[in-house]
């Protein structure tokens, strides 16, 4: 099997797991969000990868070329990126307000604050 030929997918999986690991393991709320972002971005790569056609160019009609990459995944990913940006904006603004309310963005410290009466 040609495992190495599919190296894009290995990268996707590596990034995905990296991001996921960060989300789970980090205490810092901002770092969590960064992990989440990496996680989402890996999925964008997955989509882009599957849209690639070997030897194809950008999908703009031009009589010099007859093979084009699939444009649809790009369009989808554009939407997904927007979603990602929006998520990040909401997430970060929540963190800002958490910081204002608790004066910390470390999860453990927040728990400590909450346990106080």
């Amino acid at each position: 099997m040609d495992y190495f030929g599919l190296y894009n997918y290995w990268i996707v999986i590596f990034l995905m797991m990296t991001g996921f690991y960060i989300v789970i393991s980090r205490d810092n709320l901002i770092k969590k969000l960064i992990g989440l972002n990496i996680f989402q971005t890996s999925v964008f790569l997955l989509f882009i990868t599957m849209g690639k056609v070997k030897g194809g160019t950008a999908p703009i009609i031009n009589h010099h070329f007859d093979t084009y990459s699939n444009p649809l995944p790009h369009v989808l990913i554009l939407t997904a990126i927007v979603v990602g940006v929006a998520t990040m904006a909401v997430g970060l603004s929540l963190v800002v307000r958490i910081n204002e309310a608790y004066h910390t963005i470390e999860e453990d410290d927040i728990h400590l604050v909450e346990e106080e009466p």
């Binding site: 989440l36 997955l46 997904a80 979603v83 998520t87 909401v90």
Partner: protein, 493 residues
């Protein structure tokens, strides 16, 4: 003209109303707009459902592009049914909201509340109506993002951490769904649900499709808070503003269940989903464990909202249980419970919202003596609570009837027994509140607590009446649900 464009308008009207709310930047004007848009959505949903019942599923091509290329909006029995549920709950919650948010949300944020509410409604309606797999993801995120905002509007600072927690979990869930959709697209080259279903046959046994299904199932399980992926839910429900809790509890998780049903039955097909993969053997135990564990946890909660939140986790278990029977009766039970649970849980949360309005707390101990001070509210709580238990004359009974019937048909006695036993757990947690409200003496100096305003009692009363009405006349619920189930199971195609 309106009639043939109704599927698009169903989503577009609430979507357009949201920026108009922003334009006005005024709580009252925003309320008027939001209410009008929600009412329109409700009317549209009812009209669509009647059309579907009359002439069969409706298809609408967005932008005039034919189905596999363009985005298709598709209303069949199930989606019509869920549309009515979601928009109907929207109307009830909107009617209920003014007095409640006045106390729980700052005045200058009211227009934002209405805007986020409309966006959330748009997202939920969009998920249900679209026939395009990627569109599901987009609408899922619209509704999710707006619900994070809605939750973070809560007064307590823990609302922020809850919203954050929900954001992390929710984003992971929807990204998983996105991966699933991507892998499906990879194998079939199309995003139209019907088209995927038609083309998935030859590649169904590939590892890619299996992976797609796995990612999708896990993602959607997070979204619908299936045990043990429910951890985000109790906090989010407990600290969100009361009306938001009522709306989300009644609709958001239900729509996630809709997505599960839609994907497993329409796209993957029940043969693939439940025979080729071990999903059935996984979903059912999780559902059952969820029912028992979450109900038990609910008994020990100090906050009524949290208690009801755990009860929601358990009730999701019932719905998923119905789905995992993979029989017409079971699926009917699941779909009916989806509707019924929305009614009764909405009613319960609205009742709690009334209480919070008057006493500013949802701790169980603070409910003491409310049976006398707020008789209408507590009566509503009791009726909806009885429905949760599954007492006859209420909708909860109808759901249980179908679920148990499905279990008996399959000969799965322990499942039937467990469903019945879990009703007793519901008795325990509901009755705890009732006892305190009716039998415990209120603390001194609480005489000024009065009944909630009529503007809140009426919508809540409507829900409670519906709980009883649909418990007696199941034509509109169980009838449509059975049609939807038969359609999904391919009995009539």
């Amino acid at each position: 003209m309106i009639r043939e464009n109704l599927p698009a308008l169903q989503v577009v009207i609430p979507l357009m109303a949201a920026p108009i709310c922003i334009l006005f930047k005024n709580g009252r004007a925003a309320y008027g707009i939001a209410l009008a848009a929600t009412l329109f959505a409700f009317g549209a949903a009812i009209s669509l459902l009647t059309q579907v019942l009359g002439v069969g599923p409706i298809s609408y091509e967005l932008g005039g592009w034919a189905a596999p290329w363009g985005i298709e909006y598709r209303v069949d029995y199930l989606s019509g049914f869920v549309l009515v549920l979601v928009s109907g709950m929207g109307v009830v919650v909107q009617l209920f909201s003014p007095a409640s948010i006045k106390r729980e949300i700052d005045e200058e944020k009211h227009y934002l509340f209405h805007c986020a509410f409309l966006l959330c409604l748009t997202g939920l309606l969009g998920i249900v109506i679209t026939g395009d797999a990627f569109n599901v993801f987009v609408f899922l995120e619209i509704s999710a993002l707006s619900s994070y905002i809605l939750i973070s509007l809560g007064k307590h600072r823990r609302a922020l951490t809850s919203a954050y927690q929900y954001l992390i979990m929710g984003t992971i869930g929807s990204t998983f769904i996105l991966i699933g959709i991507g892998l499906l697209y990879m194998m079939t080259g199309t995003l139209n649900m019907a088209d995927i279903a038609a083309r998935i046959g030859p590649v169904a046994t590939t590892r890619t499709v299996l992976a797609a299904f796995a990612f999708f199932t896990v993602g959607v399980s997070i979204k619908m808070a299936l045990f043990p992926l429910h951890l985000w839910l109790p906090n989010a429900y407990a600290y969100a503003p009361s009306v938001v809790t009522a709306f989300l509890a009644a609709t958001a998780t239900k729509v996630a269940v809709y997505v599960l049903i839609r994907f497993t039955f329409t796209i993957f097909g029940e043969h693939f989903a439940f025979e080729e993969t071990p999903v059935a053997t996984l979903l059912m135990p999780l559902a059952l464990i969820g029912i028992v564990v979450a109900s038990s946890i609910a008994i020990f909660q100090k906050s009524v909202k949290r208690m009801l939140a755990y009860s929601s986790v358990a009730q999701i278990g019932y719905i998923v249980l119905g789905v995992s029977f993979v029989s017409v009766t079971g699926l009917t039970g699941g779909i009916v419970h989806l509707f019924n649970h929305a009614l009764m849980k909405g009613g319960l949360f609205l009742a709690v919202a009334c209480v919070v309005l008057r006493i500013g707390s949802d701790r169980i101990d603070d409910f003491a003596g409310l049976g006398r001070r707020m008789p209408v509210t507590m009566f509503a709580f009791v009726v909806a609570g009885l429905s949760m238990i599954g007492v006859p004359l209420t909708v909860g009974f109808i759901s249980k009837w179908f679920l148990i019937q499905a279990a008996i048909e399959k000969g799965w006695w322990p499942v039937a027994a467990l469903v019945l036993l879990s009703s007793l757990l519901a008795v325990a947690y509901i009755w705890r509140v009732v006892e305190i409200a009716y039998f415990r003496k209120p603390p001194e100096g609480e005489d000024r607590i009065t009944e909630a305003p009529v503007s809140m009692l009426l919508p809540m009363g409507a829900l409670i009446l519906a709980t009883i009405f649909f418990g007696l006349n199941t034509e509109a619920t169980a009838g449509v649900a059975r049609q939807a189930a038969e359609y999904l199971m391919g009995a009539v195609r």
